[in-house]
Amino acid sequence: MTDQAETNGHEQRLEALVSRYKDIDPDDLVNIVEGIINTAQGDLSSVNLKVYGEIEALSRYIHSARQEIASLRPDEITDEHIPAAGEELEAIVGATEQATNSIMESVEAIEKEAETLPPEVAQRLTDSVTQVYEACGFQDITGQRITKVIHCLTHIEEKVNALLETFGEPGERSARERKANETSGAADAELMNGPQSSEDAISQDDIDALLASFD
């Protein structure tokens, strides 16, 4: 509808209203409408009204989302669950390290005793001891894998905190800092990923071939 046609439509409706309610002074009615328009701030064009409507709907959506997020208790995730999971994982690293050291001490004692035995027996014992040493390397690998998981948890914690801040929840609970990023150069940090899954890792033979390709 054009502005002129819209104005004509308003005039017709005003005339119809006046004819129905004879006592109403059209000027009074115009004053009331102008008063309402003046009370509302800004230009209330139809486009703006649409925008305001959308903003209001968005506001309602955000409010609803905040309530839903609050009902999930995200503060518990950052305050309790993630720190607890991190502590459990760190305890696993500590326990495996302790157990590995106990194994190592025992095996070192066996290796020492082997020196007093006949050479053939000593060699067999030494071979077995070597295998135990090799196997004890698991502690290093598992430790690094668990550290990767802890970093992953810290990342989630940071994201949840950012979400809380975005939705107006207290954001001062900063996540534990990841020291590696503070202290290492970016390029080196990108290369420090720890043990790879079997799909991503290359074998010692592949590494040897790669090294040889430089010669």
Partner: protein
Amino acid sequence: MAGVDMDMQILIVDDYKTMLRIIRNLLKQLGFNNVDEATDGAQALQKLRDKPYQLVISDWNMEPMSGLQLLKEVRTDTKLKDLPFVMITAESKSENVVAAKQAGVTNYIVKPFNAATLKNKLQAVLGAF
């Protein structure tokens, strides 16, 4: 034993004490008894500047100074630049090997490794023993 000084000073660098112990014991089995330890690159670099070593065996993933950073520091130090440097690490991606090689690594062993691999790599670096 020909050609290789079994009394050479070796510096092993790893932030996991257990791994230091494993490498030390394996080196001892191979006949190397003069083994010193450091738990990160910075500590290792200080030791390398304080005392002469003939071989470095280093992990990669350490703080505050990584094995790669240590390697780069060694290669830019006029007194240390020719020091044999073996990386023993769980970092097993091609880009890691390439980055280490470009930085001047002498050899590269991926964890988990066994005694035979360690011996082979050391022989490749030092000669037969």
